[in-house]
Symmetry: C2
Subunit: 336 residues, 2 copies
DNA sequence: TTGTAGGCGTTATCAA
DNA sequence: TTGATAACGCCTACAA
């Protein structure tokens, strides 16, 4: 059907082996021969059959990406970073969105394994031990991005979520806030949200605020959930002067929700987000938030993975990228 | 190395052919045998080698997606729609972002062809004839999503961009606006922006507005470009009362840009976007915009592609999904 | 520097 | 209902 290495060989008057050598830039082929072969390739419009190559070499140049809820601007940037690095190293991306469900993740893991991906990038909020075990048992090189993985075999690259959250509460405390509300990610998100909760706790401890007295509500990283949660916090705890949301979209939702209840931001209430998605500078009031670079994170995760695949020493297993508190208009001193 | 069909066959005491039949749910295998085989599969933790299967069957269950600038909320939703339908039909997605550059697109096309993808979904704003020719010459089933393709062999699914743009201008005209500004996509985007420009023209004609007198500026679908373009339009043409942006992000940027110049929206200036991304309801003022469903578009594009791959009659080649003008807070009657 | 031949793991054909 | 066998297209010893 399609034109194969044999057809090229016939036309060029050489053996298939020689054609294969030309394709793979083997140095031990006469320049003259190579030219003949390349002409034949052009003339026949030959396209290599990757499946055959993968079958033979056992190396697919394919990176599997498993993500949870990729219609999230931060994760999308991360994916772009992964892609940029992958492209530079000659990898293609094969991709599945698990929506954070373990079952889906395991299913994709199987599929990607069957396609013999050379490596795995995992971008999920909740990291299940089940998933870790499966990955390890299959022996596929994997790097987690954005979430810290509490396992000393599996590398991950993220921001120091604990420290970042601590920075937020410290900042708000220094402004004079004493009554806080928290809108975290889903409870299944033990990783990212879990780390951030730790940071919140640690700052509270430092400032002798009772963690258990602080209302913590769950959101699902959507505008709507932020709005709903903020309204609940404010009606249940009218004395609240600052809300920390674990994601910019929820924070923007929270601003709208609070405004619907008649609050002015930041005069009556400070709201802080997390991620610094592009939008956050363009909403009104502009959002105070923790900046982290999804693109860099994705890029570096893929660079790291590439080193593992190449058998190089990738350096330390857990890497923190810098974060930065961006103070904008949605936060200020508490009302007196 | 890895466990193969042969190992399973040995353990189960049958031939490789039988194992293959069990894997593929062939009906002509005794239930008893199938059970034995399945046990062996479980025991050995056998995972099929897809490359071998693809090589043999010439069918990869892989859909190639070429997108331009996927860190765009609308396109991201579209991709999710594609994925949902692909999953339902047993396809996996392999994915490349061309950033709208023809060279990249052709390169990805080659790569995807070499991986023997069963079909192609193309989500690009600019559609180059070169690309169309290559796709046709390779004979890979392809569906374009979001952009109308002016070619009577290649199917596409989109919104009626011309009609939608006309709706916007009609609406603004009816409100009393006479001095317009337009922020279009890049000039290389002949498709989507081109179609919308046609609609604008057609409404202008209907209302006897001179198209050539209307300032049209180019943006790149970013917040920033919308802000910059709006400021230029307003300082060059202070009499402008309404700006139509070909994308919500640019529209939101335009709102901020105009505000920086001291305009109140919508009292002094109406701004209308296109897409209705989730965010548009949450900005302030909430954005008047054309709603189109990226998810549906992606889903239906993939459904369409699946039919072509299956050899079914997919129905008409060009499909328009419904659009709707969502009137929110960013538009109103012009200042008197 | 080039060619020959065998095998990667499946599936499809044919025969039993 | 099952098994033997060949073939898919490529790469890689090994031999020439």
């Amino acid at each position: 059907m399609a034109v194969t290495i044999k057809d090229v060989a016939n036309l060029a008057g050489v053996s298939p082996a020689t054609v294969s050598r030309v394709i793979n830039n083997s140095s031990l082929v006469k320049e003259e021969t190579a030219e003949k072969v390349n002409e034949a390739i052009d003339k026949l419009n030959y396209q290599i059959n990757e499946s055959a190559r993968v079958l033979r070499t056992n190396c697919s140049s394919l990176i599997g990406v498993i993500g949870a809820g990729m219609d999230n601007p931060f994760l999308m940037k991360l994916l772009k970073g992964v892609e940029a690095s992958a492209k530079a190293h000659g990898f293609n991306l094969i991709f599945g969105d698990s929506e954070g469900e373990l079952e889906q993740e395991l299913k994709y893991l199987n599929i990607l394994n069957q396609r013999r991906v050379d490596g795995l990038i995992i971008i999920t909020a909740s990291i299940y031990n089940n998933l870790l075990d499966e990955i390890k048992s299959k022996g596929i090189p994997a790097v987690f991005a954005s979430g810290y993985v509490n396992d000393n075999e599996i590398p991950c690259i993220s921001v120091n979520n604990t420290r970042a959250a601590e920075d937020v509460i410290d900042y708000l405390y220094d402004l004079g806030h004493r009554k806080f509300g928290i809108i975290r990610g889903t409870y299944s998100d033990l990783v990212t949200s879990g780390e951030r909760i730790k940071g919140v706790k640690s700052s509270f401890q430092k400032h002798q605020i009772d963690f258990n007295s602080v209302p913590i509500y769950e959101g699902d990283f959507s505008f709507e959930s932020g709005s709903v949660a903020a309204k609940k916090i404010l009606s249940d705890n009218p004395e609240t002067t600052a809300i920390f949301c674990f994601d910019d979209k929820m924070a923007i939702g929270a601003i709208r929700g609070a405004e619907e209840l008649g609050y002015n931001i930041p005069e009556d209430l400070s709201i802080v987000g997390f991620d610094d998605i592009e939008l956050s500078s363009y909403v009104k009031p502009a959002l105070t938030t923790i900046h982290q670079s999804g693109y860099d994170m994705g890029y570096q995760a893929m660079e790291f993975l590439n080193k593992i695949i190449d058998g190089e020493d990738p350096g330390k297993l857990k890497e923190f990228l810098p974060h930065e508190l961006k103070i904008r208009e949605s936060s200020g001193t508490p009302p007196t």
